[in-house]
């Protein structure tokens, strides 16, 4: 039994469709750079979270093989338990044969009941994967299916138009130079940040700046006058405008999209990646950022 800590911040919202098995069974999955396993619900899962999502049926796949291994992934808001099987996984036009993946047999708690995706496909480094499981991306590389050992992500503000690009970089999604940053921990695609202007100093200069410490209501009409938050990474400034780090929520009010974390840690999630096209370069263990 291998355990992979994983936690979600309620704001997951970008997902794509993959298929597993022969004939293919389709699933919506979140592509998660903070984990390295693939799992989807299975028909052997009686949990409400499974019953309200697409479930993989091994008996309907001629290429499925069971392994007898079990898998347990713990979340801050719940957990999934399941078994490990092997089958053909199709990601866009890429056919990944004999891919080990998790089939959940229990998804306790409420979290997965309400999410719109079925499972998670991890794009982190192999050391985060459950013992003995080679991540999907590594298998694509090992099977020589990719032109380059990297993937890149463009996130749109719209419902459609976002893209994960496996094996390359699409110059139509960014302008200006790509700044490359060495990965400081090969697991979660961790990079070191020099500092964050504004959040570290605040607008008042006294105490913890409220805007960057929690999700806060802000006056929608004052957003154009609010300052950029500038992240400085490897000596390069990455400004994020107030328009990018705020959002209008139901009811017409506006909120800033920062959220508290433990320790000196920023998670540069959808807010940042919508502004900066992001390249995850496994060949050189570096992250590339360019103006989206």
């Amino acid at each position: 039994v291998a355990t992979e800590p994983l936690l979600n911040a309620l704001d997951v919202e970008y997902y794509g469709t993959i298929s597993i098995g022969t004939p293919p069974q389709d699933f919506s999955v979140v592509f998660d750079t903070g984990s390295s396993d693939l799992w989807v619900p299975s028909v052997s899962c009686p949990s409400l979270a499974c019953q309200t999502h697409q479930m993989f049926d091994p008996s309907q796949s001629s290429t499925y093989k069971s392994t007898g291994l079990s898998l347990s992934i713990h979340y801050g808001t719940g957990e999934m338990e399941g078994t490990v099987g092997s089958d053909t996984v199709t990601v866009a036009s890429l056919v990944d044969t004999n891919q080990l993946f998790g089939l959940s047999t229990a998804e306790p708690g409420q979290f997965f009941v309400h999410v719109q995706f079925d499972g998670i496909l991890g794009l982190g480094y192999p050391n985060l994967a459950a013992d003995g499981i080679t991540p999907v991306f590594d298998n694509l590389v090992n099977q020589s299916l990719l032109q380059e050992n990297l993937f890149s992500v463009y996130l749109s503000r719209e419902a459609a138009g976002s893209m994960v690009i496996f094996g390359g970089i699409d110059e139509s999604y960014f302008t200006g130079p790509i700044n490359w940053i060495p990965v400081s921990y090969q697991g979660y695609w961790q990079i070191s940040m020099d500092r964050d202007y504004f959040c570290s100093t605040g607008v008042t200069g006294a105490g913890s700046p409220p805007l960057c410490s929690l999700q806060h209501s802000v006056n929608c009409s004052s957003i154009p006058a609010m300052p950029d938050v500038i992240f400085v990474i490897d000596g390069v400034q990455y400004p994020v405008s107030a328009l990018a780090y705020t959002e209008q929520v139901s009811g017409g009010s506006c909120m800033s999209s920062f959220q508290d974390t433990s320790g000196d840690l920023w998670i540069l999630g959808d807010v940042f990646i919508r502004v900066y096209y992001s390249i995850f370069d496994r060949a050189n263990n570096r992250v590339g950022l360019a103006k989206a």
Binding site: H114, A160, S162, G167, Y188
Partner: protein
């Protein structure tokens, strides 16, 4: 060698729970810290 997979932007779970009037209940039952996912973040204690 280069393959594109389109992503769909769905509604945030935070919004879904708020619309169902379940957000407050969710936070009461589940404490979460998004940084807790990263136990190896600073292996040498050097932030």
């Amino acid at each position: 060698g280069v393959t594109r997979l389109p992503l769909e932007r769905g509604k945030k779970l935070r919004e879904v729970l708020r619309e169902k009037d379940l957000l407050q209940q969710f936070f009461q039952q589940h404490h979460y810290d998004i940084g807790a996912k990263f136990p190896h973040a600073f292996p040498n204690g050097t932030g």
